[in-house]
C-alpha cells in the first residue's frame, strides 16, 4: 500500500511539472504584455508621452524583459522554494495576499458542490435503478439531464433572481454585508451556506446528471449479479440487500471520477462566478487573464489544477481502499 501511495505521489509531481509548463505557455499566448498596458494606463494618465524606452524600463521593472525559459524558472522556483507567487501587476500587491481568502471560498464552493452532487445523485441513482423504467425513473432522468442542458450562466442569473424575489435573500457575493469582516462564528458559517446555495445548485445540477446516470447504470449491472440473487434467496430484506452488495459497488465509479467532477466545477466556476459576482478564484482568473496580469492568472490556474490533481490522487487511494479488486500496482 505504501509503495502504491508513493508511486502515485511521484506521478502527481511529474504531472504537476508538466502542468506548470503548460500553464506558463497558456499565459504566454495572448499578444502584448502588462508593461504596455501599464505604460498607457499610468504614465499617459499624467499627461506624459509614452515612448518605447519607457515601456522597456517597465519591462525591466516587472521582470518581463528576460527570455521565456528564464522567466519560467524564476516563476516556478519562487513558488516551489518560497511559496511566493510573485507580484500582481494590476493590484500592485503580492499574489499570495490577493489570492489569500479566495482559496478558502473556492474550496468551500467546490466541496459544497461535490457534497450536494453526491448527496443527490447516489441515493437517487440507486432508487432509479431499483425502480427501473418506472415513471419516477424517467422523470428523474429527464430532470437531471435538464441541469446538463441548461447553460449554467443562464441558470445562475435566473436562480439568483428567483431567490431574491421568493426568499428575499441578499444578492451576490458569499457573505451578507454584516458578516464580511466579522470573525468566523456559527452565524457567519450559516450566512456563507445561504450564499453558497445558488452557485452550488447551479454547479451541482449538471454534475448530478452524470453521476446519477453512472450510479444507475452500475446499479443495474450489479443488481443482475448472482450474489444479489443468492442473497435474495437467503431471505435478506430488500433494502438491506441493496445496501449490502450492489450499492457499495455502485459508488466506485463515482469515487473514481472525483477529479473529473472537480475539473468540471472549476471549468464552470469562472462563468458562474462572474454572473453571481462571487469573490472566488475563477472570477479573478478571468479578469486577470484578460488584464494580462499573468502572475495572478498563472498562479490561479496552477492552483486550480493542483486541486484537481490532488483530488485524482485521493480518489485513486480511496478506490484502492474501497475496492480490493483493483490491483495496487495498476496503471
Amino acid at each position: 500500500m505504501i509503495s502504491f501511495v508513493l508511486q502515485r505521489l511521484a506521478g502527481l509531481i511529474v504531472t504537476m511539472f508538466f502542468v506548470s509548463v503548460m500553464v506558463f505557455v497558456i499565459m504566454e499566448l495572448p499578444p502584448g504584455d502588462y508593461a504596455e498596458r501599464y505604460a498607457f494606463r499610468k504614465l499617459a494618465a499624467t499627461g506624459t508621452q509614452v515612448t518605447e524606452a519607457d515601456i522597456d524600463t517597465l519591462r525591466v521593472r516587472f521582470g518581463l524583459d528576460e527570455p521565456a525559459p528564464v522567466r519560467y524558472v524564476n516563476w516556478i522556483s519562487g513558488i516551489v522554494l518560497r511559496g511566493d507567487f510573485g507580484q500582481s501587476f494590476a493590484f500592485e500587491t503580492s499574489v499570495n495576499k490577493l489570492i489569500g481568502d479566495r482559496i478558502w471560498l473556492t474550496l468551500a464552493l467546490l466541496f459544497a458542490t461535490l457534497f450536494l452532487t453526491y448527496l443527490i445523485s447516489i441515493p437517487i441513482g440507486i432508487y432509479a435503478a431499483v425502480r427501473r423504467q418506472s415513471v419516477a425513473d424517467y422523470s428523474l432522468t429527464i430532470f437531471s439531464y435538464l441541469g446538463l442542458a441548461l447553460p449554467n450562466f443562464l441558470l445562475a442569473l435566473v436562480l439568483l433572481y428567483l431567490s431574491v424575489k421568493i426568499f428575499d435573500s441578499s444578492i451576490g457575493g458569499l457573505f451578507s454585508p454584516a458578516y464580511i469582516d466579522a470573525p468566523w462564528c456559527l452565524a457567519k458559517l450559516g450566512d456563507l451556506l445561504q450564499h453558497l446555495f445558488v452557485p452550488a445548485i447551479v454547479l451541482a445540477w449538471s454534475a448530478t446528471a452524470f453521476q446519477l446516470q453512472t450510479v444507475r447504470a452500475t446499479m443495474l449491472d450489479e443488481l443482475n449479479k448472482l450474489s444479489v440473487t443468492a442473497a435474495r434467496a437467503r431471505g435478506l430484506p430488500e433494502w438491506k440487500l441493496i445496501l449490502k452488495y450492489p450499492a457499495r459497488l455502485a459508488i466506485n465509479p463515482v469515487v473514481s471520477s472525483i477529479g473529473f467532477d472537480g475539473n468540471r466545477v472549476f471549468s464552470e466556476l469562472p462563468i458562474v462566478a462572474v454572473v453571481l459576482a462571487l469573490p472566488e478564484m475563477g472570477e479573478l482568473l478571468l479578469k486577470s487573464f484578460i488584464d494580462l496580469d499573468t502572475n495572478v492568472a498563472g498562479a490561479l490556474l496552477l492552483l486550480l489544477t493542483l486541486f484537481i490533481v490532488v483530488m485524482n490522487f485521493v480518489s485513486d487511494i480511496l478506490l484502492a481502499l474501497l475496492d480490493p479488486r483493483i490491483k495496487l500496482e495498476g496503471g
Partner: protein, 544 residues
C-alpha cells in the same frame, strides 16, 4: 475640490494667481491646512524628478513649470510662464488635488527626512519614492489603488474631504465622517451628518441591477445604462428608490477614422473628407436615438465644444452632415473611386482588396448596441466593419500605439470649464489618452517640431495655432468666441470626429430614505459625473 480657498485674485494678464486660505482649516487628523501644503504638492511632488522623471504635462506650460510660493501660512501664489485664465477651472472641476498633507508626507520624503530611504528599505522597498507612492499612488489621480488595498499601510492619509477612506479591499471600501470637515449647517452642526459610507464594488452589471431592483442600493449613478431605465422605473416603489434622469454633457458617441494610421491604404481613404462625410450621412441617427436612447436626446454632429456651454458652436455646426442619406453617401464613395466591382456588396480599395475596417470598442466608450447598428449602416453603403469588444485598458493601449483604424468613445472634456484650461480637444489627436480621437502622428509632428510623425495638412496647422490662442484669452470674451467659432468651422468642414446623438440623459438611482438629496443637474465626465455632489448634506430619514 470646491470651497477650499476662501478667495483668490488674478493679476491683469492672467499670469499670477494668489489664493487666500481659511484660518483654522484642518486636515482630517487635526493638523492645520496651510499654504505650505499647496507648495509642497507642486514643488516637492510634481516637480520632484525622482517621483516624476517627466513632469506631468498638465502642470507645465509649453514645458515650463510654474512657480508656487507660500507667501505666509494662508497665502499661496502661482506664477505662470504664460497667461492661463482657465487655470481656476482646472482646480475647480478637475479631480486632481492641488495640495497634499505635507506634515504626513514629510516623514517619507527624502527632502525632509534624510532617513527616508532606510525607512523604505525597512519595509522591503527600494527607495523613498516607492514608499511615498504607496500613499500617493504615483499620480494625482485619486482612483489609483489606495495604500489600504496595496497592503502594508498602517496610516490613513489625511484628507480635506467630508469623508475619510478607512478601509478598502477589492470588494469595496468604507468611509467615515471627517470630524474636522470645514462645513457646518445653518444651525451650526458639524457636517457631514452621515457617519459612515460604504461603497461596494459589484463587478457584474446584472447583479448590480438586481441589487438596485431589490432596494439594496442607496445611490448609484455611474455605469447605469439608459436601456435599463424602464426596469428601474417599474421597480421604484418595490425597491424603495427613486430613479431620476440626469441631463448629460459630452456624452455624444463619436467615430473617428485614424487619418495617420501606418497602413497607407487606409490612411489615404480616411484622409479624404468625402469618405468621412459619406460615413456620417450613412448613419441613421433617428433610429439610434429611438432604439438605444429611448428617444431622449437629439442627433448631433461632433463639435469641439459642448454647444450648451459656449456661444460659438451653432446649429450649423451641430447639424453638419447628420441627415440620413445613404444614397448621397454611396455617391460620394463612388466619386472617390471606391467601387464594388465584384458585386459582393463590399467596396474595394484601388488595389482590389475589400474595404474591411477592424473596429475595436470598449463598453466604457458608450452603449455597445450603437456599434452593432452602425456596422449595419456602413455595410449598407458597402463599407465592411469587423467588430470586437475589448477591455478599456486594451483599447487605450492600442490607441496609444496608433493601432486603431477607427476610434469610438464618448466625446467628453468639451464643456466650458474643460476647454477653458485644456485645448487637446481642438487639435490632434482631438482627445487625450482616455478618449483618443485621430491624427496621432500629426500630434507627434507638432510636438516634436516636425522631427517625427506625419506632417499635417494646413487646416490642422491653423487649428493648432487657434487652439493655442484660445487658452490665452478668458472664456466667453468676444475674442474667445471668435477663435472658438473658427475652430468649430474647421471641425465641421473636416469631420475628424463623426458624432451620433447628443443631449442624452443618464439614470440615477437614489434610495428614498436619503434626505436632503438633490438630483444632479448634470452628469458629465467633465465634472466627474456627479454635480452638484454634496454628500455632507445627506442624512438617512428615520435615523441612520
Amino acid at each position: 475640490m470646491p470651497n477650499i480657498a476662501k478667495s483668490w485674485e488674478w493679476n491683469d494678464d492672467f499670469t499670477e494667481l494668489t489664493f487666500h486660505l481659511r484660518e483654522g482649516h484642518k486636515w482630517s487628523d487635526g493638523a492645520p491646512f496651510t499654504a505650505a501644503d499647496v507648495a509642497f504638492w507642486y514643488n516637492d511632488i510634481i516637480l520632484n524628478e525622482e517621483m516624476f522623471p517627466n513632469t506631468p504635462g498638465l502642470w507645465t506650460w509649453d514645458g515650463e513649470p510654474a512657480t508656487v510660493e507660500a507667501l505666509d501660512d494662508l497665502t499661496v501664489k502661482f506664477t505662470l510662464p504664460k497667461p492661463a485664465p482657465g487655470l481656476l477651472n482646472r482646480f475647480a472641476v478637475g479631480f486632481t488635488q492641488p495640495f497634499q498633507p505635507k506634515h504626513f508626507y514629510e516623514q517619507f520624503h527624502i527632502g525632509y527626512n534624510p532617513d527616508a530611504n532606510a525607512l523604505a528599505q525597512e519595509r522591503g522597498m527600494e527607495s523613498w519614492v516607492d514608499l511615498i507612492n504607496l500613499y500617493h499612488g504615483g499620480s494625482d489621480w485619486k482612483d489609483t489603488p489606495s495604500p489600504l488595498l496595496k497592503g502594508g499601510a498602517d496610516n490613513v492619509v489625511p484628507t480635506l474631504e467630508a469623508f475619510i477612506l478607512v478601509a478598502e479591499s477589492d470588494k469595496g471600501r468604507t468611509f467615515v465622517a471627517n470630524p474636522y470637515f470645514h462645513m457646518v449647517d445653518t444651525a451650526g452642526n458639524q457636517l457631514p451628518y452621515i457617519n459612515e459610507l460604504e461603497e461596494k464594488y459589484v463587478p457584474e452589471q446584472e447583479v448590480r441591477n438586481l441589487k438596485i431592483v431589490n432596494g439594496e442600493v442607496d445611490l448609484k449613478a455611474q455605469n447605469l445604462f439608459l436601456s435599463d431605465f424602464p426596469l428601474y422605473k417599474d421597480n421604484e416603489s418595490n425597491g424603495g428608490f427613486n430613479v431620476h434622469l440626469t441631463p448629460t454633457l459630452g456624452n455624444t458617441l463619436y467615430y473617428s477614422f485614424n487619418t495617420t494610421h501606418p497602413d497607407p491604404k487606409f490612411a489615404d481613404v480616411f484622409n479624404d473628407v468625402r469618405f468621412r462625410q459619406a460615413m456620417s450621412m450613412a448613419i441613421n441617427r433617428d433610429e439610434i436615438l429611438d432604439l438605444v436612447y429611448l428617444g431622449q436626446g437629439r442627433p448631433v454632429q461632433a463639435t469641439p465644444a459642448e454647444p450648451r456651454t459656449v456661444a460659438f458652436v451653432t446649429d450649423e455646426h451641430t447639424n453638419a452632415y447628420i441627415q440620413y442619406d445613404p444614397e448621397a453617401a454611396a455617391a460620394l464613395l463612388d466619386e472617390m473611386g471606391l467601387k464594388d466591382s465584384d458585386g459582393d456588396g463590399v467596396r474595394e480599395f484601388a488595389d482590389g482588396s475589400p474595404i474591411n475596417i477592424q473596429h475595436f470598442y470598449s463598453n466604457q466608450g458608450g452603449p455597445v448596441q450603437i456599434h452593432e447598428l452602425v456596422r449595419g449602416y456602413w455595410e449598407d453603403v458597402g463599407i465592411q466593419l469587423s467588430q470586437r469588444e475589448i477591455s478599456t485598458d486594451e483599447y487605450r493601449t492600442k490607441a496609444g500605439a496608433n493601432d486603431l483604424l477607427v476610434t469610438s468613445w464618448l466625446d467628453r472634456n468639451r464643456s466650458a470649464p474643460a476647454i477653458s484650461q485644456e485645448n487637446f480637444m481642438f487639435k490632434p489627436p482631438f482627445g487625450d489618452r482616455w478618449q483618443p480621437g485621430t491624427g496621432f502622428e500629426w500630434a507627434v509632428w507638432s510636438d516634436t517640431d516636425g522631427a517625427q510623425g506625419v506632417e499635417p495638412p494646413d487646416s490642422i496647422k491653423t487649428l493648432g495655432d487657434l487652439a493655442d490662442q484660445f487658452l490665452l484669452v478668458p472664456l466667453g470674451s468676444e475674442e474667445s468666441n471668435r477663435i472658438g467659432g473658427e475652430i468649430a468651422d474647421i471641425h465641421a468642414e473636416n469631420l475628424w470626429k463623426i458624432g451620433v446623438v447628443g443631449d442624452t440623459v443618464a439614470p440615477l438611482v437614489v434610495n428614498q430614505d436619503i434626505g436632503n438629496f438633490k438630483p444632479y443637474t448634470v452628469s458629465t465626465f467633465d465634472y466627474y459625473f456627479a454635480y452638484p455632489f454634496r454628500p455632507q448634506q445627506w442624512y438617512f430619514k428615520g435615523g441612520n
